[in-house]
C-alpha cells in the first residue's frame, strides 16, 4: 500500500488482503461430511468462524501474525468477550503523543496523529491479560486501520475519531461461539502445520504466485507491522518462504512445483478441498493435474463471478 507521507492518505485503491468467495465455499463444504477441518492458509478467518457455527472442529493456521490473532479472536476463542474495562484500557490516552513512537514504522503508513493512536493503543492492548480478549481488541484495531485507509481527501469530512470507530466496531463485533470443540489457531509455516494437523478435511486456498511480497502491499502490510511492532518483519517473512508456497515465483512451472511439494505433506489428511480462483495465470485444470498426482479428484465445483469487474471464475476441487 502506498501512503502519502505528508497527508497520510492512501494513494491506491484499498486492496483486499485475501480475495475469498465465502458463500460459494460454504455452500460446497456444507455438502461434505467431516467433523474437523485444517485450514493452513486461513487469512481472514471468516470460514473458520462459520464452520464453528456448524459444530466443526477448526484448526486454523497462517504465517502472518495478524491473521493468527484474528483467528484466535474468532476461532480459538470459546466465548471470551471484550469487556468495557478492556475497552477503556485499550483506548486510554490514545491520542496523547509520547516523545517518540514505540513503533516508528507506523509513521510510514499513517498520518502523525493516527500513528500516535495506533502506537498507544498497541501498548495499551498488551496490558489485557486474557489472550483471547487481547486478540479481540487487536482484531478491532485491524478494522480501525482499514477504516483509515477507506478515506480520501474528498471524503475526509465523514471521518470520525478513531476511538469512536473502535467503539462502533466493538458494539457490532461478531458473536463468538463455543461449539464445544477444541478449536485452535497456529502461527507457523503451512508445511509444518499440516504435518502435525489431524483433521478429516483440509481446506486450502493457496497463496498467490506473487506471494508474501505482494501481500505486503495490501492491508496485511500495516497490520503485520502493527501487530509485531517491527517494520523489518516482512523482509524476514519473505526470506523464510524461499522455496515454499508463499514465495514470489515467476513461472507456472515453479508455482506448480511448490504446490506439489506442499500437497505431498498433506497425504495423511483424508479429504482435500482446494479453492482456486482463475486470474489469467493458472487454470483450475492445471491445479487439478497436480492434485491428481497424489489422489483422485472426486468432483469440482465452479462458480463464475467474472461477469463483473473484480469478479473471477472460481473452483473448489474436492479430492
Amino acid at each position: 500500500m502506498v501512503i502519502n507521507s505528508t497527508t497520510g492518505w492512501s494513494t491506491t485503491n484499498r486492496p483486499t488482503t485475501n480475495r475469498r468467495w465465502l458463500g460459494f465455499e460454504l455452500s460446497v463444504l456444507r455438502r461434505l461430511k467431516f467433523n474437523s477441518v485444517a485450514i493452513p492458509f486461513c487469512g481472514q478467518p471468516d470460514l473458520g468462524w462459520y464452520l464453528k457455527f456448524w459444530g466443526k472442529q477448526v484448526l486454523d493456521n497462517d504465517i502472518c501474525q495478524w491473521a493468527w490473532w484474528s483467528s484466535r479472536a474468532l476461532v480459538e476463542n470459546a466465548g471470551e468477550r471484550l469487556t468495557e474495562e478492556d475497552v477503556s484500557l485499550a483506548l486510554g490516552e490514545a491520542y496523547v503523543p509520547h516523545r517518540r513512537l514505540h513503533n516508528p514504522a507506523l509513521a510510514t503508513f499513517f498520518s502523525e496523529m493516527d500513528a500516535v493512536w495506533f502506537d498507544n493503543v498497541w501498548m495499551n492492548i498488551q496490558q489485557i491479560e486474557n489472550e483471547h480478549r487481547r486478540a479481540l481488541a487487536m482484531s478491532l484495531v485491524f478494522g480501525v486501520g482499514d477504516y483509515v485507509f477507506s478515506f480520501t481527501p474528498e471524503t475526509a469530512e465523514l471521518r470520525r475519531p478513531l476511538s469512536e470507530v473502535f467503539l462502533a466496531l466493538w458494539r457490532n463485533q461478531r458473536q463468538v461461539v463455543d461449539n464445544g470443540k477444541e478449536n485452535y489457531s497456529v502461527n507457523r509455516d503451512a508445511h509444518e502445520f499440516v504435518r502435525g494437523a489431524r483433521a478429516e478435511l483440509m481446506f486450502a486456498c493457496f497463496p498467490r504466485p506473487d506471494g508474501l511480497a505482494a501481500l505486503r502491499q495490501t492491508t496485511a502490510g500495516w497490520r503485520e507491522v502493527w501487530v509485531r511492532g517491527d517494520a523489518t518483519i516482512w523482509d524476514q517473512l519473505i526470506a523464510n518462504q524461499r522455496g515454499r508456497l508463499g514465495d514470489d515465483v515467476a513461472s507456472k512451472e515453479h508455482y506448480l512445483q511448490l504446490v506439489g511439494n506442499f500437497l505431498s505433506r498433506c497425504k495423511h489428511i483424508g479429504q482435500w478441498a482446494i479453492s482456486h480462483t482463475e486470474d489469467g495465470f493458472l487454470s483450475a485444470a492445471e491445479i487439478g493435474e497436480v492434485i491428481q498426482q497424489f489422489r483422485r479428484i472426486d468432483v469440482t465445483y465452479n462458480k463464475d463471478f467474472s461477469d463483473v469487474i473484480g469478479g473471477r471464475n472460481t473452483f473448489l476441487i474436492i479430492a
Partner: protein
C-alpha cells in the same frame, strides 16, 4: 425524497422485465413486512446515486433491476421471523444470510442479466468485509452492490419495521454517515447523503415556510391533522370566495361602493383581492388585521350551511380589504423567509 418520489422510469428495452419485477417487488415488500413500497424506493434512489457516480447504460439498468429484485430470495424463504417484532437471534440471522444466494438463483430463473444476479448476491456485502454471503470488502465489491447496500440500509431505516419505528430522516443520515468507511463505501455514502440531505433540507424549509404561513390561522381541528397544507389552502380559497359574496350581500350599498373605491385606489399599487388572497396564503397572514368591523360582519353573515369547522374565523384573510394601511402592516409584520440553509439543520457528517 425527491429520488424516492420521482417516478421509476423504464426505457423501452427495460420495460418488459421492469414491469414484471415491479410486481414481484411489491409482493416481496409484503413478505418482509414493509408498509411502503420499499424496493421501488430503493430503485429510484439507487438510480439517482448510480447516475451521480457515473453509471449508465446496461450498468444502470442492472442496478435498477437488482434494486427491485434485491430481496427476492426472502420471498422464497417465507420465514416467520421476518415479521417478528423481536431482534433476530444469531441462528435466525445465519439463516437469513442465505437470502442473497437464493436471490441470485431466483434472478437467474427470471433470466435477468448475470450482472443483475451478482448485484442481488452482493447487496449485503459490507465495505469492511463483514457482510455476507462472500465476505468481499472494499472495492472488490462492485460499485452497484456498494450503492445497493447503502441505499437499502437508508431506505430500511426510514421505513416502519415490525421490530422498530422508522427513523427520522436526519437520524437515518447520521446513521449512514457514522458507518461510512465501516459498512459503507465513503464515496457512496457521501453522494447518498448529498442527495437525500438536499431533499430533506428542501422539505424542511418548505414545511417551515408553511408552518409560518399558517401560524396566525385558527385551522379547524378536522383539517389540521389529516389534511395536507395544499388541501387546506384550497379549502380556504373556496371559503374565501363564498364569504366575499356573503359580505357583499350583507353590506349596505354605500359600503360596497367605498370598498370598491378603495379597491380601485389600491389597484394600481396593491394586488386585487384575489391576488392578495393567493399571495397572502402563500406567505404569512398578519394577525394585526384581525379586529376589524368587516370581520364581525363576516361572522354574522356566514350562511347557515357553513359548518362550524368550516366557519371562517377572525384570522380569516378573505376580509382583508386590501387597503394601503393593511398592506403596509402586513408587509412590515411578515418576517423575511429564512434561507434554506438557515431554516433547516445541516446534515451532520
Amino acid at each position: 425524497m425527491q429520488a424516492q418520489q420521482a417516478p421509476l422510469i423504464f426505457t423501452e428495452t427495460e420495460r418488459q422485465a421492469g414491469d414484471r419485477l415491479l410486481k414481484m417487488a411489491l409482493e416481496t415488500d409484503r413478505v418482509e413486512g414493509y408498509t411502503e413500497p420499499h424496493a421501488v424506493m430503493i430503485a429510484r434512489l439507487a438510480e439517482t446515486i448510480g447516475r451521480e457516480m457515473g453509471l449508465h447504460g446496461a450498468d444502470l439498468s442492472a442496478l435498477k433491476f437488482a434494486a427491485l429484485a434485491h430481496d427476492i430470495g426472502e420471498r422464497g424463504m417465507k420465514r416467520n421471523y421476518l415479521l417478528s417484532p423481536n431482534v433476530l437471534t444469531w441462528e435466525e440471522r445465519l439463516d437469513l444470510w442465505r437470502h442473497p444466494i437464493l436471490g441470485e438463483q431466483a434472478a437467474a430463473e427470471l433470466k435477468l442479466s448475470r450482472q443483475t444476479q451478482l448485484l442481488v448476491r452482493w447487496h449485503h456485502e459490507r465495505w469492511n468485509g463483514l457482510g455476507y454471503p462472500d465476505g468481499l470488502s472494499g472495492t472488490a465489491i462492485p460499485l452497484g452492490a456498494r450503492i445497493l447496500c447503502a441505499v437499502d440500509s437508508y431506505c430500511a431505516l426510514i421505513s416502519q419495521r415490525p421490530y422498530r419505528d422508522s427513523f427520522e430522516l436526519a437520524e437515518a443520515e447520521q446513521f449512514i454517515a457514522d458507518l461510512a468507511g465501516i459498512e459503507f463505501d465513503p464515496q457512496v455514502a457521501q453522494v447518498l447523503l448529498a442527495v437525500v440531505g438536499e431533499e430533506r433540507l428542501r422539505r424542511e424549509a418548505e414545511a417551515a415556510r408553511q408552518q409560518q404561513e399558517f401560524a396566525g390561522w385558527n385551522i379547524p381541528a378536522s383539517l389540521s391533522e389529516s389534511a395536507t397544507p395544499v388541501a387546506i389552502v384550497e379549502m380556504y380559497e373556496e371559503t374565501v370566495e363564498t364569504t366575499m359574496e356573503s359580505v357583499a350581500e350583507a353590506l349596505p350599498a354605500e359600503a360596497i361602493e367605498d370598498t370598491q373605491a378603495n379597491d380601485d385606489v389600491e389597484a394600481a399599487e396593491s394586488p386585487s383581492v384575489e391576488q392578495a388572497t393567493e399571495e397572502q396564503l402563500a406567505e404569512t397572514p398578519s394577525p394585526a388585521i384581525e379586529s376589524t368591523e368587516e370581520v364581525h360582519a363576516t361572522e354574522q353573515d356566514v350562511p347557515e350551511e357553513f359548518s362550524p369547522d368550516q366557519m371562517p374565523t377572525a384570522e380569516f384573510p378573505a376580509v382583508q380589504a386590501p387597503t394601503s394601511s393593511r398592506t403596509e402592516t402586513t408587509e412590515t409584520e411578515i418576517p423575511e423567509p429564512e434561507s434554506e440553509s438557515e431554516a433547516a439543520p445541516k446534515v451532520q457528517n
